[in-house]
Assembly symmetry: C3
Homo-oligomer: 435 residues x 3
């Protein structure tokens, strides 16, 4: 059996480490292009060997085109007394993403047409973008908005929208086979912690642990890219190799206090679906499984019908289903080290299943083999069964060439790890062999 490095790592330290990474990346203003995105990839590259790609503006990627690169120098709204009443310096969510440059004066009524708030959460700033529609705007709290008097406002948006590049980073850990496990997270969101600095930090931590594995069956492919256009760009650049992806997960929203949520692949019964559901069931904790829908994150692209990849998404509170989602309240208080480390533990358990889900053959298929003379049976019979004994019998009974270890775990109700250990023990005898 392949031992997963980090099966019993110091999850507490790893949780702290991931949280510190989230904290470090929090202030940076990211978007689907630009320097903030580049800086984020550079930070990730301090932890794992990241190869960064840059695709030029105007390049066709599948049905899309790489947009202009967007960068912000400053952006604010000033009242007639020269006070900045809304300022990008205070919080980078204040600026509508991809706002075009502007320097203008206007009354409150005109200004309001470009202001976005969340009336239901009057203290929070919403996150809004306008990537593909030429526009400008500011986001602010409802309270802030209500405090704005009639006045002549000076709106200054010093952004650039120029020919440039879209950036993404990837990191590949080769395994015994070319078949890949894709771990994909979007890296384009500005100052929000759960969505998706948590995903960036967890994927990075996974990368470090994977690099420490003495051997890997699968090749692991980590991708940090802008949502939608970034995943589309990566797919477009890798049409000749996306077929290698056997299993995949979109990593996002993994640091909040909610229970685990799994969104199935479009296929619904892919091996990744069964592996994740097995691990969540075994956890004994509350969790939720949702069917695929073409709404959410980059599983939308991986599960488009022309690819139909076996990619699901394992999150805590999922896309759009927690109040802080896409607001300034998705901050360093929402995401906690213990939630990050718990999520990491689940991801590792899933990888354990993927790595070790093999089929074996019981060489003494007719009747039970005599475990006693092989030292595998307790000496005094007549009492009740226990987990280890049962796991040996289950592996023997179902290792007929049809059942893999994941199937055996599911049918027996025993934890995958116990089944894997039983198979490992039996492989040392003459009773089980690889097929």
């Amino acid at each position: 059996m392949r031992r997963i490095v980090g099966e019993d790592p110091d999850f507490s330290s790893l949780g702290e480490e991931m949280w510190r990474m989230v904290k470090g990346l929090y202030p940076i203003c990211r978007s689907i292009t630009g320097e903030g995105l580049r800086e984020t990839l550079r930070v990730i590259g301090e932890h794992i060997p990241l190869r960064t790609r840059e695709l030029p503006t105007g390049k066709r990627v599948l049905d899309w085109t790489i947009p202009m690169e967007w960068n912000v120098r400053e952006a604010f709204v000033e009242n007639s007394r020269g006070e900045r009443v809304i300022d990008f310096e205070d919080h980078n969510l204040h600026l509508l993403g991809y706002s075009h440059p502007l320097d203008a004066k206007m009354g409150l009524a005109e200004l309001k047409k470009h202001l976005h708030t969340l009336p239901d959460h009057p203290d929070w700033i919403p996150y809004r973008t306008s990537y593909y529609d030429d526009n400008w705007g500011f986001c602010l709290s409802q309270n802030q908005l209500e405090g704005l008097p009639e006045d002549s406002y000076h709106v200054r948006i010093d952004t650039t929208l120029e020919e440039g590049h879209l950036s993404y980073g990837e990191c590949i850990f080769p395994g015994e086979v070319e078949d890949e496990v894709l771990l994909s997270c979007h890296a384009c969101h500005p100052s929000m912690c759960n969505d998706n600095l948590s995903g960036i930090a967890l994927t990075t931590a996974l990368g470090k642990l994977l690099s420490e594995m003495p051997s890997r069956r699968f090749t692991y492919h980590l991708l940090f890219a802008p949502a939608t256009i970034g995943a589309i760009a990566w797919l477009s650049e890798n049409l000749d190799r996306v077929g290698r992806v056997r299993h995949g997960l979109v990593v996002t929203c993994v640091g909040d206090p909610g229970h685990m949520t799994y969104k199935r692949s479009r296929r619904g019964t892919a091996r990744i679906d069964r592996a994740v559901e097995l691990i969540l069931r075994e956890s004994g904790e509350e969790y939720e499984v949702m069917d695929f829908s073409p709404w959410g994150y980059d599983e939308r692209q991986y599960c488009s019908p022309g690819f139909d990849m076996e990619v699901g998404s394992l999150t805590r509170s999922s896309h759009g289903r927690y109040p802080e989602y896409h607001t300034s309240a998705d901050d360093l208080d929402l995401v906690r080290p213990e939630h990050l480390s718990d999520s990491l533990r689940k991801y590792l358990a899933v990888i354990d299943v993927l790595e070790n889900d093999r089929k074996y053959l019981n060489t003494v298929a007719r009747g039970e083999p005599q475990l006693g003379r092989r030292g595998l049976y307790r000496a005094v019979g007549g009492g009740t069964s226990e987990e280890r004994m049962l796991s040996l019998l289950w592996v023997l009974n179902l290792s007929d060439g049809d059942y893999g270890l994941m199937d055996i775990a599911k049918r027996s109700g025993l934890p995958f790890r116990v089944i894997r250990e039983a198979a490992g023990e039996l492989l040392k005898t003459d009773l089980l062999r690889e097929i």
Copy 2:
């Protein structure tokens, strides 16, 4: 997308119109043969182009034989004072269907052997027949029976059982394809409104609406025939063309206040089954789905193993499951215009599904197409999704050649109509094409 005429018709007027038709047909004494049946077909023919068929007594139809034609001139029981204590003139349910002629005197004891009542509903007259067993009898209320003193009774049944014909009527609206949708209702029941004047009225109304459709994909075949022997006769006469029937519904009991009930075809997962269940689920109202059983109405014939047609039965309170069933209480008070129109609305929605359940192909299958530049995406991103956007994404994601629109509606949880409209919108772009 094919627009169903009457998708938004004036259901209120249609309900009134159907109810008036029920009222007009109510007094007629129908049976599986005879002048009442002919008169009923004639009335239907005033609304839709009906072709009437007459099959002679003695003709073999499948395992059966067309019986003698039965007609009633008068039938009564007179007491010794010459008072008619039971009279066919008062209610045509009073006479046991297919009673043979009789003119005799007898005491109460002898008479009672031929009287049928409903002790549990002492005011109601039961509906009883004896088509294939030479017999006579009267049906009356339990109260009426208990009021009959010992006396010498004169029983007079002036019926004829003679060589004649069995009549049925059919009406065909050709479509683009020869494949047929069968709408079948039995037309043999005497004065009872829900079973089955409601079915006759609704089928007639459907016929009028179908005739107004600018184009029809399917050919619609409406059948008004006596129960059992009539359906068997029709099948026997159409052995070379019943294979054209792709989908069908037996229309009965559609005017009472109960919730909708669907009885599945023998196959259980036929397209008609899935279409009806989708529409009932979407209605948000209470409903019931029952598995097929070989008991009920003419689905028994259509779903006999040698035909095994994809025919279910969509009713309100179903066969035998409401107290007024097959009694004089199944009258003009039980059936109401609003129930008739609600049933009609469901039937039309089912026809909408059958007409429009097509498969399409997403032409940009790899990755999501960029909806924005085609004017299909809202401009400012970051908020939550809404039904229209979701419906476009679902149609694109599942239009891979395997899924039809009904499957997409089911998997997405969105109403069929919304999915159909999304497909219609996408067909106007380069993103979707027919296959």
Copy 3:
């Protein structure tokens, strides 16, 4: 239709008879070899024609080897005053099964290493064995143990472990076909009534009833063998004919007051599984169905992957799931005649299904046949249906070559017996024929 003898036998007498057999066998000290096992087979042979087989020590059977034969002359522990504080004479559970001979003196501490108790049930003696690990020991109640003072104890175990034989008995009732129904019970347990004297008595009673059947479709193969090694020995000796076993049940724990429990075959949807589940569902009583697991009794062997036989286990309280299991409390009070007879009734009903589950063909498949002119339809129509009429219609509707009578019973919800009777009635007409 084949009539099961004993379909309406005197179950009350049969219950008493089985209970008397349990009582007679109770005192005998059985093990997986030895004279107690032989004596038990001899007693069974007084009721049904049993052929006994003897396999010599050292013979290889599948992955196992026939062990030494074990017999007990006496075994006790004596205190320093010469009083026997534990004595095999009092209860044969006192001696650890397969204890080797010993004559030794020892203090309480040394003795205790070889004593087994049940602290949770301080009055009960546990059942323990050590077949394949050279050992000795005594089992006693916790109260007894706590009453043992420090002393010098004389331990005497006068057993023999010598070259000998393993015995099993089988009894075959030939049927019209060579295909077999296996009824297997383990016969190796010492003085415990539910596990498994109840199984021995019920299997014997079934054997008597089967012998009285005027004709049998299947060949019935009854096996009385030691658990595990006995079943393995039988399989090993019959490799060329185990393929004949089409259906089978492991008979054990059939006399306690618990509800019926069925443990499915490894396949899970074998005909025996469907037959037993149908009968339990029809019983209207509480019952439980468990999936197969490779723990329990000899279904472990029959359902090992190299055989994968269609064998389940029908019990009352199942293996290890009642407190008295494998203790001295599994005695003549736990097992009662009425539970034995109720279990027998279920087994007979299952055999009824197996014998009569045939497919027939409706010869008038297009439309319903006219039952009336064949005397199968009630004369006056219009009322509601009843079971007999429905059963005729169901058999006709589903007899298309795909459905057998068991399927028809399940789909119709009517009792198998009613469906079988309907088929029998139809077979007398021209409407149904065997295929």
